[in-house]
């Protein structure tokens, strides 16, 4: 009982501090006094840190007096998966979410502490506290993580098998949550700008910084999730258009649109309504994504917990959108742009195309995600919307995207000067043609692949040219070279390079994947898809946590251990673990598909027609797949550069 009460006291403390923050801030607003809301934010952070500490203590010491621990931990769960057990199910995930939110509120309020009299900051902190109160309130009510467990539990259930298979569980979910939580900040400031009517300030650009931070973290989180699912068999490669993957993609798409279009507002004063709408939509989509993950209404590999929170989350989603739309309608007249777009192929014109593309794709993804529900409501039947639907839209969209990435960094604001554009794009256009010619000489004939390489080379050329320009300018000013990386567009261009690398990796690996199945008896070798594969025999690994049947396989003299693993505790469901031999040129992905003979206790599919001691190996060769993760790294690096970049004031002083 002690832990239950300790946890609840800390949690209620955090909740009350958040409510106190709201009340204090509103009073400060009415009486026009400077606010001290940072104190309340720190108090609620202290509370939630206490609650998290109690939960972690219970998980690490396997204290089953908390029901949550008995359901998501077992006596033999190792330390790492005990810690990550906190986000293996709904209630604990909310703890993590609230922890990150309370922390970011403290950071934001501290960052703006000198401007705490500013009405925009005040209203934004009211909104931040409000969002925080919602999530803390969920844990004080329907999703209590600290429910007492009276029954004597000897062993505990242990986390879901898929959640104790890979150490990425320690990184991927927290990064996604951090990204999601980060979008609360631009949302809060958008609402504050609308309430105060101060929509002409420099606040949107200020908010871009926070959005870029959240965006970068979310991007890295999504790429790591892809890497994880790639390493775990049965999740459909690195991306499966699963509803919950889509849930993370939706806010990412609108946030991508936002960080582009805010630049236009900064330079040209356009798109005010649009930018505020995007900030609000991005936040609303994170709530909708949480709803998809947690309500269990959609069938998904990620819907690890279905709960009764669905109506509350969707209600909160509605309140968010209604508040945003209502305020936009109320302030509509103030938001009118003084000027319009002068030329469709000017920079702002291309930014509009970018926004149409990203928001359009978000709508397509949203429709595809909820379509099974609509279909079931109308026809009563079940239907799945899979890769073909999304790919039909994603492929042409990616092509247009690459075209935009080739052009937009090079064209000027307001007008299009074709001769200037040509002089800037000439080198990369020729280089792109050389790349295509080289590929054709090497025997590549698929038009889509050639087109992708042409456009990607041109896009990379534009990004590199812009980066080179930054280095040249820095040298001319006599500064040191790394100052160029803090320049206004360096981070963005590194991100563009990352996207180009990822696009090439996706196109190449999906176009030239070869899948083979080979049957090998112990001690046999074969050559499959150009890879020299030897099967040396079985190895059983048994520890308190798991029983694994590993296969000792050599691929080109690299030892690999594809396995079938059964985790004790939660279920007898075996999990296939592929082994991957990866280098920059190709990945060889080896899976344990079936075993001959009786298959005694290996958990693998048994192929009775084969002799005992032989196995069926799946050997998949995917060229250039490793570049997908390298591109993801560049995305993270670029966003980090963009976050620490010089602000405009500093640039003038320099």
């Amino acid at each position: 009982m002690t832990l239950t009460w300790l946890g609840r006291v800390a949690l209620y403390g955090a909740f009350l501090a958040t409510l106190g923050g709201i009340v204090h801030q509103v009073i400060a607003l009415r009486t026009n006094r400077p606010s001290r809301s940072l104190r309340w934010a720190v108090a609620s952070l202290v509370g939630i840190v206490g609650a998290v500490a109690v939960m972690q203590f219970a998980l690490i010491t396997h204290n089953f007096s908390l029901a949550y621990v008995s359901e998501n931990n077992a006596t033999f769960t190792p330390l790492l998966y005990s810690i990550t057990g906190m986000w293996s199910a709904l209630e604990g995930s909310l703890l993590l979410w609230s922890l990150l939110l309370c922390a970011i509120i403290v950071v934001v309020l501290r960052y703006y502490r000198r401007r705490s009299e500013d009405q925009v900051v005040s209203w934004a902190s009211v909104v931040l506290f409000g969002v925080s109160a919602f999530f803390l309130g969920l844990m004080c009510g329907p999703a209590d993580p600290f429910i007492h467990n009276g029954a004597r539990v000897l062993q505990g259930a242990g986390p879901n098998a898929l959640l104790q298979d890979n150490p990425l569980v320690a990184i991927h979910p927290p990064l996604l949550y951090m990204g999601f939580v980060g979008f609360t900040v631009p949302f809060a400031f958008a609402i504050a700008m609308l309430i105060t009517g101060r929509v002409h300030d420099r606040w949107p650009l200020e908010q871009r910084r926070w959005t870029v931070l959240a965006w970068g973290v979310l991007s890295v989180g999504i790429v790591l999730g892809a890497w994880w699912s790639y390493q775990v068999l049965g999740w459909g490669g690195f991306w499966g258009w699963d509803p919950v993957e889509n849930a993370a993609l939706l806010p990412w798409l609108t946030a991508t649109a936002y960080i582009h279009s805010v630049i236009v507002q900064d330079r040209r004063g356009l798109f005010r309504v649009w930018n505020l709408s995007l900030a609000i939509a991005t936040f609303a989509l994170t709530i909708l994504g949480t709803f998809f993950t947690r309500s269990g209404v959609l069938q998904s590999v990620h819907a690890f917990s279905s709960s009764t929170l669905g109506p509350l989350l969707i209600g909160f989603f509605f309140v968010t959108v209604a508040l945003g739309v209502g305020l936009l309608a109320w302030r509509g007249d103030r938001l009118r742009s003084p000027v319009g777009v002068d030329h469709p192929l000017s920079k702002e014109g291309l930014f509009i195309a970018n926004n149409v593309l990203f928001v359009g794709f978000a709508v397509v993804v949203l429709l595809g995600t909820v379509f099974p529900l609509l279909y079931e409501a109308v026809n009563g039947g079940q239907v799945t919307v899979g890769t073909p639907y999304f790919a039909t839209v994603a492929v042409p969209m990616s092509i247009v995207l690459l075209v935009l990435m080739s052009l937009a960094p090079l064209v000027g604001w307001r007008t299009l000067d074709t001769s200037v554009l040509w002089s800037r794009i000439r080198v990369s256009a020729w280089a792109a043609l050389v790349v295509v010619a080289a590929l054709m000489l090497a025997g590549v004939r698929r038009p889509m692949v050639l087109l992708a390489y042409f456009l990607a080379s041109a896009a990379a050329g534009s990004a590199l040219r812009t980066l080179r320009g930054a280095f040249v300018a820095v040298r001319r000013r006599g500064q040191r070279w790394f100052e160029a990386l803090r320049g206004p567009s360096a981070g963005g261009m590194v991100v563009h390079l990352g996207v180009v690398v990822m696009a090439l990796a996706i196109v190449t690996s999906t176009s030239y994947t070869t899948r083979n199945e080979v049957t090998l008896a112990t001690g046999q070798s074969t050559v499959v898809a150009g890879q020299f594969v030897t099967f040396h025999g079985f190895r059983t690994v048994k520890d308190p946590l798991e029983t694994a049947t590993q296969l000792r396989v050599d691929v080109n003299n690299h030892a690999l251990l594809p396995a079938i693993t059964t985790y004790d505790g939660r279920s007898e469901q075996p999990v296939g673990t592929p082994a991957i031999d990866s280098n920059l040129a190709r990945d060889v992905y080896v899976t344990f598909d079936a075993v001959g003979g009786t298959g005694a206790a290996s958990g693998a599919q048994v192929e009775g027609s084969l002799p005992a001691g032989s196995v069926v190996l799946g050997v998949t060769v995917e060229p250039m797949l490793a570049w997908l993760w390298i591109g993801g790294l560049l995305l993270g690096l670029g966003s980090a550069l963009s976050f620490v970049r010089r602000r405009h004031g500093e640039e003038l002083e320099a």
Binding site: G150, V325, L373
Partner: protein
């Protein structure tokens, strides 16, 4: 300008209301996972014991019936979710040669009795002191449901909360 903004806002708002209301009224996809089990196709382990409200149950005497065996505990949230579904199914299937029986998993008899009374269980549940039945069925966490065919062989294993609809489908498949 003002007018356009208002019209667009009202339109978006209406759309979002419809969308939210639609999503809020969806029921969770709560079907259990049909899982492979070493018991599949084998004769079901012995299942015999005292029922919660008194009386005894024995699987052997149910030969000729399809038997749905559900391991549950009062402390398990998905069991709460599936309890009414199981009762619904037990009631509808009672005339079709289907017997539903619960097995209390790792729980105090008093809490289990209270649970069964609270959710108005329409099927018997037997107690499993020492967890011997759970052990022989390889159950490590509730809810786990087994469907045993007319010949006493295990025909399906369901992990997680199941629904009346899913049970009807699984039993129909097993009986054919």
């Amino acid at each position: 300008m003002k007018r356009t903004v208002s019209i667009v806002s009202v339109a978006i708002l209406a759309l979002v209301i419809a969308f939210s209301a639609f999503l809020a009224t969806r029921h969770p996809v709560s079907d259990a996972t049909v899982a492979p089990s070493p018991l599949l196709g084998k004769l079901a382990p012995a299942l015999k014991g005292h029922e919660l409200g008194g009386g005894t149950f024995s699987l052997k005497s149910e030969r000729g019936h399809v038997v749905v065996v559900n391991f549950w505990a009062s402390w398990c949230p998905p069991c709460i979710q599936e309890a009414p579904e199981l009762s619904t199914y037990a009631w509808h299937a009672r005339t079709k040669g289907v017997v539903v029986v619960g097995v209390v998993f790792n729980d105090a008899v008093s809490s289990a009795t209270a649970f069964a009374a609270h959710y108005g269980s329409l099927y018997p549940s037997i107690i499993d002191p020492g967890g011997t039945i759970a052990n022989s069925y390889g159950v490590t966490s509730p809810p786990t449901t087994f469907v045993i065919d007319r010949h006493g062989r295990v025909a399906a294993t369901l992990l997680g909360a199941t629904t009346a609809k899913q049970l009807a489908a699984v039993v129909a498949r097993v009986s054919s």
